[in-house]
């Protein structure tokens, strides 16, 4: 067995046997599903009905509001136009109802545009106010139309509702909302890479620091080259990480499946449907749904997956060599903070650039530049790939990524080689630079 595979095996076994790794592996999906279920439960709970008093002196609007009342609606409107306004105001403070809508008596309906008042102790939600405004506005519009002796039905019929359908130059039909799906797919993969780098990069760093504080490092590097140890450590840790992600995926999917059985919701509509029914359903839904499916299958799935693997390997190795070098340079984890910042920054930056500029303009200058810079390309380029990226751009980006990857590994290995034998003091940036020349 070669030495590197020995090291990989040890690192993998050490990680996987670690108690906190086992606990995290099996607890996280439970926790995740638990939280999701809790949020679902909370949002399914019926909100407390809020009573709104209406004091309508004009007598024009009461019916419009009261007709909105139903068992399911969040607000219940009460017609209290007959009760004295002052008494109503006082009873708000006693909280027998949430708020009071005051509509004054007027001869000119247009005056109402600015004279309606809503009085409450807590500020009302924006959607509630918009709803009230639109009810009043619709009624006023209707009254105005009637006064002008216009036929409201004819006007309604005359209004048109435009729905632009999108198509590509190649002639294929396209669907709206596809960009959101594309960014979700690219973003999902990009986010996965970032999470993986942060979690397992840190694990690499901790493992280097452990060897330093244990003082086993000198025994080991009298038998193997520091470079072999570093690469073995990175690969071993990433294998443990991939195993963990895999277990998470399996547990998560089976929990979701179990939950959907339990709550009686079909995971996929095709699950129990007979072929004839499906055919029928397809005919009925022919149009948007089918086009979405078609578009999804038209996405460059192969290049997304290949891109994911390539950028995952490049990005993870690039960053974890940084983490290994930092681990070698410091004596304990608290000292690592100042060196970690420059690593976290490009990661965060690439996620933000990905979500903001790629979504707006997948082939704009910002998106293109950041998908070339090696530190951000693994995430930004992955987000762009679903939108279709010219091959030459991917070629440049991957070449740059791997060129940087090799030079960073070389540079990290140098710091690593010197750092692992330095005990007792926190190095400065200047010293790190000096180590490169040893």
């Amino acid at each position: 067995m070669s030495i590197i595979s020995l090291i990989i095996k040890r690192e993998f076994v050490a990680k996987v046997r670690n108690k906190s790794f086992i606990v995290m592996t099996f607890l996280s999906p439970l926790l995740f599903v638990g939280i999701a279920a809790f949020v679902g439960y909370l949002s399914s709970m019926k909100a407390e009905t809020k009573r709104i008093a209406i004091h309508d002196e004009s007598g024009l609007f009461t019916n419009e509001f009261v007709s909105q009342n139903s068992d399911k609606s969040e607000y219940k409107y009460l017609d209290l136009s007959l009760i004295d306004e002052k008494f109503l105001k006082d009873s708000i403070t006693k909280e027998s109802y949430e708020g009071l809508l005051l509509i004054p008596k007027t001869t000119n309906v247009a005056d109402l545009e600015s004279k309606v008042q809503f009085i409450s102790n807590d500020s009302p939600s924006i959607s509630f106010i918009e709803n009230v405004q639109s009810i009043i506005a619709n009624k006023i519009t209707k009254i105005n139309l009637e006064r002008a002796k216009l036929d409201t039905v004819a006007i309604k019929n005359a209004q048109s509702n435009v729905n632009i359908s999108l198509a590509k130059a190649s002639g294929e039909q396209s669907v709206k909302g596809l960009n959101e799906i594309k960014i979700a797919i690219g973003g999902g993969f990009g986010y996965l890479i970032m999470m993986f780098i942060i979690i397992y990069g840190n694990m690499v760093m901790r493992s280097v620091i452990e060897e330093k504080t244990n003082r086993i490092i000198e025994i080991i590097i009298s038998s193997v080259k520091p470079f072999q140890l570093m690469i073995g450590k990175i690969i071993g840790t990433s294998l443990a990480g991939i195993l963990q992600f895999f277990i998470w995926a399996v547990i998560g999917l089976s929990l979701m499946f179990a939950a959907s059985l339990f709550f009686g919701v079909d995971v996929g509509p095709t699950a129990k449907v007979s072929p004839e029914l499906m055919q029928q359903a397809q005919n009925e839904f022919a149009g948007p749904a089918q086009m979405y499916m078609k578009e999804l299958w038209n996405l460059p799935i192969a290049s997304i997956l290949i891109g994911f693997v390539v950028y995952f390997i490049g990005g993870y190795f690039l960053y974890s060599s940084f983490y290994a070098a930092i681990g070698a340079a410091v004596d304990n984890q608290t000292d690592s903070q100042q060196f970690l910042l420059p690593i976290i920054m490009p990661l965060m930056l690439s996620v933000y650039v990905g979500f903001f500029s790629v979504m707006n303009d997948p082939h704009g200058t910002i998106a293109v530049v950041f998908s070339m810079i090696p530190l951000t390309s693994p995430i930004v380029m992955l987000m762009r790939i679903p939108f279709g990226v010219p091959l030459w751009q991917i070629a440049i980006s991957v070449t740059l990524l791997f060129a940087t990857f090799f030079s960073v590994v070389w540079f990290a290995a140098k710091i690593y080689r010197v750092g692992i034998l330095m005990y007792g003091k926190k190095p400065t940036w200047k010293e790190l630079y000096k180590w490169l020349k040893y």
Binding site: L6, A14, N214, E218, I219, I221, S222, V224, Y438
Partner: protein
Amino acid sequence: MSTLLEVNKVVKQYGDYVALNEVSLTVPKGSIYGLLGPNGAGKTSLIRIINQITLPDSGDIILDGEKLQPKHVQYIGYLPEERGLYNSMKVGEQCLYLAQMKGLSKAEAKKQLNYWFDRLEIQGWWNKKVQELSKGMAQKIQFVVCVLHKPKLLIFDEPFSGFDPVNANIIKDEILALRDEGATIIFSTHRMESVEELCDHIALIHKSNKLIEGKLDDVKRQFKTNSFEVGIVSDNVEGLMYDITQKFTVGPANFKSLSNELKLEIQLGNAMPNELLNVLTQCGQVTHFVEKIPSVNDIFIQTVSEK
């Protein structure tokens, strides 16, 4: 006696600091070679270069007739001063791992481990985790890991630190046994009494330079001052003192004895011991007559404080 390890004009610099300045050593096969020097003299730098942990800036190293190269790690066993083990790993697994890194097959490593665990009577530790062991116990494991692959050259940096006297003795006997089986041992320590006891060759490094090297006896011969400790019972002390001070430099001496004699330390200069004896026997009864041989400790302190 042929040479196992030859260090030729090795230079190592860290930035502006010169850690080793053209240091050359010759370590004979089958010897126990004491590498001495005060803290920060460059011993660890040299040891790390021999272990190929760092590379020299210039100079070369010949191991058993070949220029030092990566495959040689199998022939070297190294017990560093700063040493430890993976805390959460089981002892047996850990030893197997470290032995395999030195190029042993798994089966061979297991065989050797069983032999050493039996020999040091630590069979019961195989499934223990290192964090359950005491410091001395962990040191024993490290010693086993260091010698397991039957290296030609063993390098021990402060091997006895952390051991109680009983265990230190066990380790000392093992080191001597390894030497008798043909291994060559480089031994770096600050404990001069163990140098005195074990080493047949020494080298002294001070401020990045090698100052002394050679057989321990030769070095001592080089450092002896031709002075003798003398005990004498005499009726005529004044006459005696007059006679001796005429010919030699005399000072008081301090050694343990049972009779209440006159104790002197006499510097002979170029004279022969018999000349002194002749004078002494004429004046009284000689109870004690020993040549003063410098200890390694004396040589160390003298050399280091001179420069």
